[in-house]
Symmetry: C2
Subunit: 456 residues, 2 copies
């Protein structure tokens, strides 16, 4: 690897961590409208960082939602153009009391930086900016052309990005798309991801009486919205753990024997996995291994259920309203909108007597699978070897980056998913963090990648 | 009825409503420890009102929880002594956004006073104080001896009152216990209650992983605390609406044919009842009428269920913790502690794979049934006839006043449950209110009752 670049990262390390901390301090939670101002602030921060890195045509481009930050450096005519995608928005932080530090007050402990967005995805976006910066500051040139497209709505399903990509097709034109928003398989086990699950989400609102009722005066004679919701939700899975919504699995492309063999070869130990998560036991769809279940099988997950009294002690109330938030992870060829329709049908046919149930649809994203036999991916594998000293694995990811499928469909270019997070870094949960060891190695991996991608 | 007393109520009406409003402004929520200071303030308010009414030996008597307010007027030797019980604590107010006014800013609309505690039970306690006051101020004597015992923990199961009653047995000795904490059957349909349901409560805490997990990275391979809780809760009732906990009904004394005939004679119309509550349909234990279900059959009710994300939109999280709050209404001869044990057994044997479930027990109260053929009850019926112009019904109540069973057991005196609330006045729910018409008639009913009870 280029010594000057390596020295640049070493010399700038403290400065880089200060900069990353400043970015992590911005509470850019896209799901909560109260954080609208933070979204703008985060976009500006990214734009400033791109400018300081030496990129050009830096622009905060409006959408009907949060803006997209664009920048480019196009001084290598005849060489490939890399489009770098990432996001500056983060997940909500509740339950706040389970965090060991304020989620927006980044704290370094045991070689890890703790903050919401540390790994998903601010930390990884920051690394791409710094990799380009290091090359520009030390070699004063880039071997490839680069374009950045950093959005602010990934955590709410990239609501406005598909239209943006369609409209800005020419601006975003490139030869390869690179994204760091997936994880490695484990410490010192980097991985290139060739498949992502899709996503659809909905909310169910159950209502019984027009208002809450006293359980003494009415109890026994009237329906309870919570009973109705609980009974309805319990019908959505079999006791064994499969999804029980009719037609849910109909469009799933079965795993081939070859792919099952490959997934079985990934380093994984059920008992270690169970212990690491503090679980009494593992649980999931019968007939599939743990790795298959979280990488390559679809799910229906309750993300939130609530109704009635949540305070200390008891309240003898019959709740009139109860709510459930559900998201599904989907695999090829499930269609997210069709899956929502199937769930709506299920809700309609399973709503218990005495209550009504209303469904509100949320964001959707299609699943994605690509071939991992492209020059761009082979280059990424080589870069990992240099940065980490080991060959990367090829894996599918259970997570969803719905926009990947849009880029794939609109721009028709190979997609390289090279992540640097670890699966246990609490993406979307309290105490999200990012390994500084992987941060350091990742910077070098990316710099090497951008320096050698001209050989595509 | 005594004209002077009648005129007193008319003259003082505005003043009385101002006083009642002052009491209702005190947020004496016993379930929430943040309201500790309000509990003391409410006790002092009651003590002051009793003093101003002309009562003697007014005392705020400590317990290990909230204090009991005691007062008496014992100047009729040889005449009966009436013990008046009520409570100055109120239920929590959430969901706050469903209230049309601040629950602690009493508002009069359409002849009703809206505030938490308006009918349960501050309004009714206030009426007893004012009935005695009216007699003392106008006739300067009482035909009976009276003792007040107003507690501050009824809404949390009268935790410390049983011990207080045992210890103060001599102080509280009386010939009859009068309580206004039940309801009438409907407008212009006063009722004397001869039975109350018992109560037990518990919380179930379900845990899966040690922390929340990302539904993309883990979804499908790990248990979800909400799935576990929902599946567990769904086993607690049959689809038809009966409680499915083994042994739950074993100790229930079946309704006699006579009692079923009597309950069937109460004015009730299912369709009107359903419409009034805004329900798609009624629902309850098969084989029983609506009136039987809410007056004389036991229940198991979900009062609160919560876990995971409750904000706007979606959050793709697998919640690690989920919670349910449950209370049961019980009838003779169900033992509240035994019922909790049965539910604990049920939880143990129905906890789904992959999660653990912990049960925390809350307050209990035994059910109560009395004969309605006592002189004290016949006097109450006569007083209703004078105050309301109609004979009262005799009914059982689905609610629980656990302390009634304690008074019954320790003091061995007849209990008269004469309520003035209406069933649709939103006890324990948003927009609790109290009819001022029933307030006015009730004052006269109570004054008549205390004036003529010497004929027991």
């Amino acid at each position: 690897m280029n010594d000057k670049v390596d020295q640049y990262f070493s010399k700038e390390r403290i400065h880089h961590l200060e900069q990353l901390s400043a970015l992590l301090r911005i509470a850019s939670i896209s799901a909560l409208s109260a954080h609208k101002a933070d979204m703008g602030q985060a976009a500006e921060w990214i734009a400033d960082a791109l400018t300081q890195a030496g990129l050009e045509h830096v622009a905060i481009m409006p959408t009907k939602g949060n803006p997209v930050v664009y920048a480019d450096y196009l001084h290598s005519p005849g060489k490939p153009t890399v489009l770098i995608y990432g996001h500056y928005d983060v997940q909500p932080v509740d339950p706040l009391d389970l965090w060991d530090n304020d989620p927006f007050d980044p704290t370094i402990r045991d070689g890890k930086i703790y903050a919401r967005g540390a790994s998903d995805d601010k930390g990884q976006v920051f690394m791409h900016i710094k990799a380009i910066e290091a090359l520009l500051k030390t070699t004063h040139a880039l071997a490839v052309n680069v374009k950045f497209c950093i959005e602010g709505e990934e955590e709410i399903g990239s609501v406005h990005l598909p239209l943006f990509v369609e409209e800005q097709k020419a601006l975003l034109a490139a030869d390869v798309l690179v994204i760091s928003d997936t994880t490695m398989l484990g410490p010192n086990a980097p991985a290139i991801c060739y498949g992502l699950r899709g996503l659809c989400g909905l909310q169910i609102d159950v209502q019984s009486a027009k208002s809450d009722l006293h359980s003494g005066l009415y109890g026994g004679a009237v329906p309870n919205a919570l009973h109705g919701l609980v009974e309805l939700l319990a019908t959505m899975h079999t006791k064994e753990g499969a999804v029980a919504v009719q037609g849910f699995y109909d469009d799933v492309v079965p795993l081939t024997d070859d792919e099952r063999k490959e997934l079985a070869s990934l380093p994984h130990d059920d008992e270690e996995y169970r212990k690491g998560l503090g679980l009494p036991s593992l649980f999931g769809e019968p007939g599939y291994s743990t790795v298959e279940r979280y990488m390559a099988r679809p799910t229906l997950e309750l993300n939130g259920v609530y109704g009635g009294f949540q305070g200390e002690g008891t309240k003898t109330v019959i709740p009139a309203r109860a709510h459930a938030k559900i998201t599904c992870r989907l695999v090829n060829n499930q269609d997210p909108v069709h899956i929502i329709e199937l769930i709506e049908e299920h809700v309609k046919s399973h709503t218990p007597v005495g209550v009504t149930a209303k469904v509100t649809r949320f964001d959707t994203g299609r699943p994605f699978v690509t071939s991992f036999d492209s020059a761009a991916i082979r280059s990424a594998a080589k870069a990992y070897e240099v940065g980490f000293g080991v060959k990367p694995y090829y894996m599918r990811m259970g997570g969803s980056i719905p926009i990947v499928e849009v880029f794939d469909r609109v721009l028709h270019i190979p997609v390289v998913l090279m992540g640097f997070g670890l699966p246990d870094e609490n993406f979307h949960a309290p105490n999200e963090h990012f390994s500084l060891d992987n941060f350091d190695r990742g910077l070098r991996t990316l710099a090497y990648y951008y320096e050698h991608l001209d050989t595509i």
